[in-house]
């Protein structure tokens, strides 16, 4: 199989459609491994990986760690709270120290946009961005593409609606790039205070009303709404948000019959999405999580495994 000709995965903005296709195809093979009784291949035996999480994460961290175990890589996970950051050590020093212990790939989540770029510029090891501030979360974007492709059979021509706090969402940014590169049409919906200040660079349109945006949609993706946005005056209350922008059966009635419902998690039930919708047969929320492990196995393979075997 081919390898990705790049050191890092920092965002989907800079990844080509061909590369995305390669990752998604590889992820399909990886999912087969996950379905085996003994979920382990020796592909990354003897390879060392660091998971560096400066922000809390359950799903993404578990997903990366399992992907590493299924691929037989050796990995260590360091959480921000217990890290040397607290002792005043810089990110650069922290990672350079770990690098000389033999780590070949660093997976990092960090609260500052651009932190993954900064890290990649400063170390020789590969960097996979597991979420940088409000910028990108490329592995989430890829697993969303994987899920949609799996359910719909194609990505080209689909209408995908992203609803909610796009402004602060790295998931939305990665999806906007990934989906458009694969030929899907992306539209946004939500209150103007939660939209990015200027959409010019993205090439997507934003609607004030969810009902209008979901007209004839194939996929609708709700984003997690954080309570702290209310505290900073961006909307009045969770109750009002749910009433005007929350996804319910009624609100998505104008979409296609086979509408696919997605959410990157963790869900605030009854706020950005109703339980009945999140748990409905049309919901792919748990499939997204399964796909996440497969996509991460594929990325590790393509970044580390492929190159060394050539």
């Amino acid at each position: 199989m081919q390898a990705l000709r790049r050191k890092d995965i920092l965002g989907l903005e800079e990844i080509s459609a061909e590369e995305i296709t390669l990752i998604l195809e590889t992820a399909r093979s990886m999912r087969e491994i996950m379905q085996r009784k003994i979920k382990k291949v020796p592909t990354l035996r003897g390879r060392a990986i660091l998971n560096l999480f400066y922000e809390p994460s359950t799903r993404t961290k578990a997903s990366f760690e399992l992907a590493q175990k299924y691929m037989s890589a050796d990995s260590v996970s360091v959480a921000g709270a217990s890290s040397s950051l607290v002792k005043g050590e810089t990110l650069k020093d922290t990672v350079r120290n770990v690098e000389v212990m033999g780590v070949e790939c660093v997976i990092m989540r960090h609260p500052v946009s651009g932190a993954a770029h900064y890290l990649a510029q400063n170390i020789n090891a590969s960097v996979i961005n597991a979420g940088d501030g409000m910028h990108e979360h490329p592995t989430q974007g890829l697993l969303d593409l994987f899920t949609i492709l799996d359910k719909k059979g194609h990505l080209e021509g689909l209408k995908v609606v992203i609803v909610g706090d796009v402004r602060h969402s790295r998931v939305a940014r990665s999806n906007i790039w990934g989906l458009q590169k694969m030929g899907a049409k992306v539209v946004l919906a939500g209150p103007p205070t939660l939209m990015p200040p200027d959409l010019e660079g993205f090439g997507v349109k934003a609607y004030d009303r969810v009902e209008e945006a979901v007209e004839n949609a194939d996929v609708v993706m709700a984003l997690r709404l954080q309570k702290e946005r209310q505290d900073s005056g961006l909307f009045p209350s969770l109750r009002e948000y749910a009433e005007i922008y929350g996804l319910t059966e009624q609100r998505v009635a104008g979409a296609k019959e086979d509408l696919l419902i997605m959410h990157p998690g963790p869900i605030n039930r009854g706020v950005e999405i109703s339980s009945s919708l999140a748990d409905s047969p049309r919901s792919a929320v748990l499939d997204q999580v399964t796909g996440g492990v497969a996509v991460r196995m594929a990325l590790l393979y393509l970044l580390l495994g492929g190159i060394k075997e050539e």
Partner: protein
């Protein structure tokens, strides 16, 4: 008395529209004569300025020298050497040091250090005690002690009431107030210009409105109170338009712009891969703003070009974007960046006398300090400029302790060839003359 003859340069004095090939004779610390075929006594030291521009010494009216308190970033002597290297004969140093220059004792320290510096250093005093925006600093006492202007630069004056009092009080002692315009509630958390690029990069934005809201308030206060106001580092199209209207209405207001706001936009943050050397306050704005700044500069709305030299230690900038301090160090790039624009001929109405007016005559006039002209009898502060010299921006070779510039690696045409302060050559072809330390005792 020691004489120095500068022969056959193109002498430009923007203060009196003088632009011709001539000689300039210095006697001691003063200009003795300007004219063709000047005679000097046998043995007079001569600089052959054929092919060079002879300009009144450049004055950077907005620099941060970090001294006292942050000498690891820059100090008065290193900043002065950087100024000399960049062709400046004088700089105005902002008050946001530690302790803050809000008191005669700190001003005294700055002046004491300045006496050993390569160029003239004019201290600015804080407008409010501790830059806290609560009580006025002792403006009158500092003015008597030699302060040329008052500013809380780095911070706005949040309270409209205090701002109004400051204008009224300063009017009484005929003092200049320099303002950094920023509404802190609008800019809170902002890392770069709010616009399409901040949206793409996921960095929190500072909207143009953050500057314009405060600027509008202060122009209204100026209109009611009178006084003299200078606006630091304008960055938005809206600001330019407001200043244009204020000047048309007869308000006593002047403004400056930095080379980085004239030459770069928010795209630089993306193109340089989140380089913290693009992080500056006010932020690099949009292309429309950039064009409006040029228009303002050319039509006289913007009076001066100033570097807003904001040096930081490399370690301070070698962190994640949000954690880096704001600022671009500009003393050693400002002149070459502007000369390069002149030689690139991208800006139709830009010409050399206009550029020298913005870099020398206007700052002298605004700050009411000597310099900015080449009239006989005045101090011999001169900058000799080589329009053809090629330079590559290499911050590792700077005299400044800092290296924070988004222009590293840029190849520019045009540079200062000599910097002359009070008749003494302090920089020749990029090399700053070391002064003998003055011992006090």
């Amino acid at each position: 008395m020691k004489k120095l003859l500068i022969k056959s340069g193109r002498v430009i004095d923007p203060s009196r529209d003088y632009d011709q090939e001539a000689d300039l004779l210095i006697s001691g610390a003063l200009i003795e004569a300007v004219g063709k075929g000047l005679k000097a006594p046998a043995g007079t030291e001569t600089i052959d300025a054929a092919g060079l521009i002879v300009s009144p010494g450049l004055i950077d009216m907005h620099v941060h020298l970090r001294d006292p308190g942050f000498e690891y970033k820059e100090d008065i002597l290193s900043g002065a050497r950087a100024a000399a290297a960049g062709g400046f004969t004088a700089v105005a140093a902002m008050a946001n040091t530690n302790p803050v220059a809000d008191d005669l004792s700190v001003i005294g320290y700055v002046k004491e250090r300045a006496s050993q510096a390569a160029v003239r250093i004019y201290p600015c005093g804080a407008l409010t005690k501790g830059l806290e925006g609560q009580e006025l600093a002792e403006l009158g006492r500092m003015q008597i002690g030699g302060v040329v202007a008052f500013s809380d630069d780095g911070r706005p004056v949040d309270s409209a009431s205090l701002m109004r009092n400051a204008l009224q009080y300063a009017k009484g002692i005929d003092a200049l107030i320099i303002l950094h315009e920023e509404d802190l509630s609008l800019s809170a958390g902002g890392m770069m210009h709010e616009g399409s690029v901040s949206s793409l990069l996921g960095l929190r934005g500072t909207a143009a409105a953050a500057e314009e809201v405060m600027l509008a308030r202060d122009l209204l206060l100026l209109k009611h109170s009178g006084g003299r106001l200078h606006l630091a580092h304008l960055s938005t199209a809206g600001s330019v338009e407001m200043v244009r209207q204020a000047k048309a209405a007869g308000l006593n207001v002047t403004a400056e712009v930095t080379p980085h706001h004239l030459l770069l936009t928010d795209r630089a943050v993306k193109n340089l891969g989140y380089s913290t050397n693009t992080k500056v306050n006010p932020p690099l704005r949009s292309e429309l703003d950039r064009q409006a700044l040029w228009e303002g500069l050319l039509d006289g709305t913007i009076d001066a070009i100033a570097s807003d030299h904001a040096p930081h230690h490399p370690d301070d900038k070698d962190v994640e974007y949000d954690f880096a301090p704001f600022g671009i160090a500009g003393l050693e790039t400002t002149l070459s960046l502007m000369l390069n624009e002149l030689s690139a001929k991208r800006i139709k109405k830009l010409n050399l006398p206009l550029l020298l007016e913005k870099l020398s005559t206007a700052p002298a006039r605004i700050l009411r300090i000597s310099g900015g002209n080449l009239r006989p009898g005045n101090p011999a502060d001169l900058t000799l400029i080589d329009l053809k010299q090629q330079v590559s921006v290499n911050p590792d070779a700077w005299y400044s302790k800092a290296s924070n510039t988004p222009f590293a690696g840029h190849r520019l045409t045009g540079a200062a060839a000599y910097t002359i302060v009070a008749g003494e050559v302090v920089m020749k072809r990029g090399v700053v003359t070391e002064k003998e330390p003055v011992l006090h005792g």
